[in-house]
């Protein structure tokens, strides 16, 4: 084996150590970069040289770089991110709805009690103008409480429509960026190279997309293919398929695929899914029960008015005004009477009679057509809102814990350990120094060799 061969082997070692140091440097530099996957320099033994039937090693060569990935864990993280974002979207909305139903001086339950208390107070002094006015004021306060609660829910719905539009815009931007990376990655893979930084970028974009909506990820030769939960394509090869928004017949923003097909109902996870579920299922359910309570309560009050006589001896007229349909009752309920004398307290036509007030008071303890008393119906509504918020909170917390665990697992595979890289750096530095020493030694040998003739001539 010649000195030149040894020198070549030493230079290969220098190159390999240098490349490994470069990889280590890259790892250390990106230790805190989101989505970064640690890389390893793939070193392998150089082809040996056969001389005189002797096989002599030629040192080491850099075969390439390898990103250390775990596709399964990444998929699990994407799925858990979808769940967490969906739960967070629901929790955010419910946290804004909750105060409306929390006991205060203005909530429906308190105002309902106040109305019955004012009627009870009127029974003590049925001719008292202050007591009669107090009933009207309490009725107005209850109507306002219903209006406020209904308004809070419908405002929330409108806000969620805006959120849907924003989510769809972000989804379209992300799918465009993901699709743009696909050809580059396909080219790298076709040439047998590691996706490296490009693949990290794409994974990070897919993760961001997962936070917005439910996506199914399939890896193909043309890169990653993304579809929504019901198979609507979002990214295929270098093509991205933009989602669109349109206002539905109910005024809610609908999500359409590129062909114009409504896919709103199939979007169940991510921020968009959680937002749509809150807007289309949770809020309508709560609002429906609120409307039913307002409608049935007002109908009972109006019926009680009709059975009595007002202070002028005339049959009682409606106490509340409500729409002809149950829907919208909570938002539209208002007082129908404004004259205290028109409260039908009397049962015999005498202005001092309180006989009919018992019919009003009975409403408090009598089941409405829904099967529950007004108080129980409202308590049930409070439980439902609280339960929905509690469940969303629990789901969000569970997802956060699960996500934390999955990220820790992924980090143990793909994350950068500064300690590990520091040790690698020392290892590769020593390898480099050793190789350099070999070069230096060969240089000395060359010099000795070169000076051999010169010394003899002298």
């Amino acid at each position: 084996m010649s000195l030149s061969t040894s020198l070549t082997s030493a230079v290969n070692s220098l190159n390999a150590a240098s490349a490994a140091i470069q990889v280590t440097n890259d790892n250390i530099a990106n230790a805190n970069t989101p989505g970064y996957t640690r890389k390893m320099a793939i070193l392998q033994e150089a082809e040996p040289t056969n001389e005189n039937n002797l096989s002599i090693g030629n040192g080491v060569v850099l075969a390439g770089y390898q990103s250390v990935r775990d596709e399964l864990l990444q998929t699990r993280i994407q799925q858990e991110t979808q769940s967490q974002s969906g739960a967070n979207a629901q929790l955010s909305s419910l946290q804004q709805i909750q105060p409306t139903f929390t006991t205060s001086t203005q909530d429906i339950g308190t105002q309902m009690s106040a109305l019955f208390a004012s009627i009870s107070s009127l029974s003590v002094n049925p001719t008292g103008s202050a007591a009669r006015q107090a009933v009207l004021t309490a009725g107005q306060n209850l109507a306002t409480a219903f209006n406020t609660a209904s308004n809070s829910l419908t405002t929330q719905e409108s806000g969620l429509n805006t959120q849907v539009t924003q989510d769809v815009t972000q989804i379209n931007q992300l799918t465009q960026q993901i699709a743009a990376l696909n050809p580059q990655l396909a080219q790298l893979k076709a040439s047998g190279q590691d996706g490296g930084t490009l693949e990290d970028q794409q994974s990070q974009l897919v993760l961001q997309l997962s936070a917005l909506t439910s996506v199914a990820v399939t890896n193909t030769d043309d890169g990653v293919t993304l579809t929504t939960g019901n198979g609507t394509p979002l990214v295929v090869g270098s093509n991205s398929f933009a989602l669109q928004t349109a206002t539905g017949s109910n005024g809610a923003t609908q999500v359409l695929d590129q062909d114009g097909t409504n896919v709103t109902g199939s979007l169940t996870a991510g921020d968009l899914g959680g937002t749509i579920q809150t807007r289309d299922q949770i809020i309508p359910t709560v609002l429906g029960q609120l409307d039913t309570l307002a409608n049935q309560f007002a109908t009972r009050f109006n019926a009680a008015q009709a059975t009595g006589l007002d202070q002028n001896g005339n049959a009682g007229t409606n106490f509340f005004t409500i729409p002809t349909t149950v829907a919208g009752s909570a938002g539209a309920i208002k007082m129908a009477v404004s004259d205290p004398a028109l409260i039908a307290a009397s049962s015999d036509g005498s202005s001092g009679s309180n006989g009919n007030l018992a019919n009003f008071s009975a409403i408090q303890t009598t089941a409405l057509p829904s099967g529950k008393t007004p108080g129980d119906m409202y308590a049930s509504l409070v439980y439902q809102v609280g339960s929905l918020a509690s469940n969303a909170n629990a789901e969000s917390s569970a997802s956060a814990a699960s996500l934390m665990q999955l990220n820790t697992q992924l980090a143990s595979v793909s994350g950068v350990s500064i300690d590990e890289e520091s040790a690698n750096l020392i290892t590769y530095q020593q390898a480099y120094e050793a190789a350099a020493r070999v070069v230096s030694t060969i240089q000395s040998l060359f010099a000795v060799t070169m000076s051999m003739g010169t010394a003899a001539a002298a």
């Binding site: 208390a117 509690s390 020392i426």
Partner: protein
């Protein structure tokens, strides 16, 4: 397992411990375990029911207090009436003594008239603007001085009313008779005329509701005149019929010591508990007229003292004694109600305490528990921060110097 970056795990742990610390601090500062519905949906729903019950108890307590005051006013009036009737009996007994001179009897009659005025005043007792013994017609004094003759505002010589004059459907004309102590109420139906009213009055006379001789006629000036045709029998007439106009007593027709009851028999009830209501009034007709005509018997004694024999005075005094017995009987339920209200007040006070305790257990937290939770949360948070401070700066580089 490789351990790489510990920062996310530390951040998560710190966030969790700080959240627990924040919750514990909030519990200590507010005294509440449930500050929003999602903290405990079931307790929040139960709280709605409990607060509703609490509001009812508060109102029942207010009602109990108000009704107690009303009842005490009525009881005070009862007491005065009893005193007055005893005085009347004493005067009657004195007047029945055959040795009393006519002048003395006139003086006793005068004294009794004063007592009668006092009884009328008690019978017209009002509480917060409402007449306690008027039934549900509590906006007007229930006992009104009676006259023999009432005439309508409508009708004149130029435009006289006639028996064919139509009455307004739905209008009410009432005649309260001081002698019988009863009231005839005529509600006009469509097509009714003055003649219909005349017939109704005739029927009421036949039924004993109105004194014999009471009739309605069209007088010489074309007005409707309702009269008893007996100077000793007084009536009070009212009407809201537009065709008749207001009925007013004819000047000089007032009957001395005669008062008609213009209230009704309505009894108001007020709820003072979930399953407890109390009557808040004793109608004047039940108290002063049925079972013993208090006003009439006193008027009878005055007449007997003024012009009757000792036998008449004795009979009139016995009538007052019967009335007194009746009034005393009527007072018993009133006193029972007052006793019930007193017990109910105590019960409601206990119920309020029970509900408040229930509410505290539903959403509140004891100071000891809150303080323990806070201490525990502080300890956990400090431990988490200490662990983070200890482990986060540690890298191999620290040892490669």
């Amino acid at each position: 397992m490789r351990v790489t970056n510990m920062v996310p795990a530390m951040q998560y742990a710190m966030q969790q411990s700080q959240q627990a610390l924040s919750t514990a601090l909030q519990q200590v500062s507010t005294g509440l375990r449930v500050s929003q519905l999602s903290d405990d949906p079931s307790a929040s729903a139960n709280m709605v029911t409990s607060l509703s019950a609490s509001a009812s108890v508060d109102q029942f307590t207010t009602n109990t207090s108000a009704v107690t005051s009303l009842m005490q006013t009525a009881d005070s009036a009862f007491s005065s009436v009893v005193t007055s009737l005893n005085s009347a009996i004493t005067i009657g007994t004195e007047g029945a003594n055959g040795t009393e001179s006519a002048a003395n009897r006139q003086a006793l009659a005068l004294q009794l008239q004063g007592i009668l005025q006092a009884v009328i005043g008690q019978a017209n007792t009002a509480y917060q603007g409402a007449f306690v013994f008027a039934g549900s017609a509590s906006t007007m004094p229930p006992f009104v001085a009676a006259s023999t003759t009432y005439t309508s505002a409508q009708g004149s010589a130029a435009s006289p009313l006639a028996v064919t004059t139509g009455l307004t459907a739905g209008s009410v004309t009432s005649i309260s008779d001081a002698t019988t102590g009863k009231t005839m109420v005529f509600k006009a139906a469509a097509g009714d005329t003055v003649a219909t009213l005349q017939t109704a009055i005739g029927d009421a006379v036949a039924a004993g509701t109105l004194s014999a001789g009471t009739a309605a006629t069209i007088n010489g000036t074309g007005q409707l005149e309702i009269a008893t045709n007996n100077s000793a029998n007084g009536i009070v007439v009212s009407s809201n019929d537009a065709a008749l106009g207001a009925m007013t007593a004819t000047a000089g027709s007032e009957v001395a010591n005669a008062y008609a009851y213009v209230g009704n028999s309505g009894v108001n009830s007020v709820q003072v508990g979930d399953a407890m209501s109390v009557a808040t009034n004793v109608p004047g007709d039940q108290l002063f007229l049925s079972g013993g005509n208090v006003i009439g018997s006193m008027g009878g004694l005055i007449s007997a003292l003024q012009s009757g024999t000792t036998t008449d005075i004795g009979a009139a005094t016995s009538a007052i004694s019967a009335a007194l017995t009746h009034v005393t009987q009527q007072r018993v339920p009133l006193d029972n109600t007052l006793s019930q209200l007193n017990s109910q007040q105590t019960y409601l006070g206990q119920e309020k305490i029970t509900l408040t305790t229930q509410q505290n257990s539903l959403v509140g937290i004891s100071l000891a528990e809150a303080a323990t939770n806070l201490s525990q949360a502080e300890l956990t948070n400090n431990a988490t921060l200490a662990a983070a401070a200890k482990s986060m700066p540690q890298t191999l580089l620290d040892y490669l110097k």
